[in-house]
Symmetry: C2
Subunit: 233 residues, 2 copies
DNA sequence: ACAAAAGTGTTGAGAGTACACCCATGC
DNA sequence: GCATGGGTGTACTCTCAACACTTTTGT
């Protein structure tokens, strides 16, 4: 940042900066993302990833959290948020030069108010396998987000962020199978979890049609571990 | 462009956007980064990562390449460049709100002209273990870059980007040991390379004090593979 | 001949995979 | 009882790490 003095700094043309956020959840046994329908030019009536301009006095992460809260009703504590990539090619927005810092978020379906679901037709959850045409370069952003999410799940335990506080091991395995798109071996999945010691048994069972399933939750300190293990801050 | 929406977009306050670049190389058997001495307020006379403002008609990556070329004499083909993270906290630059898209680059020492080395005192290569105090939040950026570089080397073969076209396997192992800060087993390192098939033997040997070492180079298509394997484009 | 560094092979431990089997509940 | 899904154990394979050994040069 070998910048000239203050006077010089302000004279440069400045791009607009937005934070866009790919919000994942799981419902109906599908991995879904939240999209909003644009009401204005450009790309009017097309679907887009939610996002908004960065205010001058808030960090980019705060912008992302704010947008997240505006579109869902989820607070900062309940969600996993991670910066994804920054897209800044000229021409990606026909209005002006826009630099977009993309984030992705994992929210569990139980946190989502019915509101978001049955709201007007301008917001909706879409299966990642059945996406409508997207505005701007949002298809690319979503593709990156999905790749990153899958990668994360392959070597960390963040998958639990897509589940309620209490869950069964089968439910957790379902999350992994849905996101990764592959069947996993029950025994191996469980022994791996046991070794990493990220989940702990809690009182209570859930009836399932067969033998009732033990409930688990993630260890609080393990959550810290998962975040510490993050190599892409 | 004279729609009402255009007016809306441009009415927002806009942060300045810069691309900063952490340039790594290896010399004197040390991992080094390029720093430049600031000549103006703020942080006058402190060292900083090179960078500059994004021009309106170039992509962020092009900005990074341009800054790289200005500080070294390295062209796009010879260098590995990857986006690292975007830093945008308010107050990280006292002049105005600055959003910095950080990149990191790997260049081999043989590409660097002597110029960069014995230039005036305002540019220099510093061992990552003996850094001077840095301007802005550049210490944090550099820390991220180093973490990412180490991580990359642990599961990819990008280490060769820090070497000349031709190299011996011992030299490649040295790169990994220097960057990771650990000793590696010769036999295991070599058999791993053999399995991944990223290097190929070429004519010629290099005398070393003992038995002369076979020269290798990276397979061109393997280079493509390494880049394709990138999950953080 | 001997030191030094290149280069290869062997072995054992541990992780990952496939699969079989037992357990608890609802009907 | 038996279908259904939860839960556990075992045997096989493959990767990985430690280490020993051979080869080729310079002096």
């Amino acid at each position: 940042m070998d910048t000239p003095e203050t006077y010089d700094v302000t004279k440069f043309d400045r791009p607009s900066v937005t934070a866009d956020i790919v919000i994942f959840t799981i419902s109906d046994e599908q991995l879904k993302v939240l999209l909003i329908k644009r009401k204005k030019w450009p790309y009017q009536d097309m679907w887009a990833i939610p996002g908004g301009f960065a205010k001058m006095d808030e960090s980019l992460e705060e912008t992302a959290y704010r947008e997240l809260a505006e579109e869902t009703n989820v607070t900062q504590q309940q969600v996993y948020l991670e910066q994804l990539y920054t897209f800044g090619d000229p021409g990606r927005d026909p209005r002006t030069r826009v630099v977009t810092v993309a984030y992705f978020a994992l929210v569990s379906a139980d946190q989502l108010s019915p509101r978001a679901a049955d709201d007007a037709a301008d917001v909706g959850w879409f299966s990642v396998y059945h996406l409508p045409p997207l505005a701007f370069d949002h298809a690319k952003i979503l593709d990156y987000a999905l790749t990153r999410l899958r990668y994360k799940l392959e070597y960390t335990a963040v998958g639990f962020q897509l589940l309620p506080d209490l869950f069964t091991l089968r439910e957790l395995q379902d999350v992994y199978e849905i996101v990764l798109g592959t069947k996993l071996d029950k025994g191996n999945f469980r022994s791996k979890l046991r070794k990493t010691e990220v989940v702990e048994m809690v009182e209570g069972r859930r009836s399932t049609g067969g033998r009732p399933a033990q409930l688990y939750r993630f260890r609080e300190d393990a959550v810290a571990e998962v975040k510490a293990r993050r190599l892409f801050p």
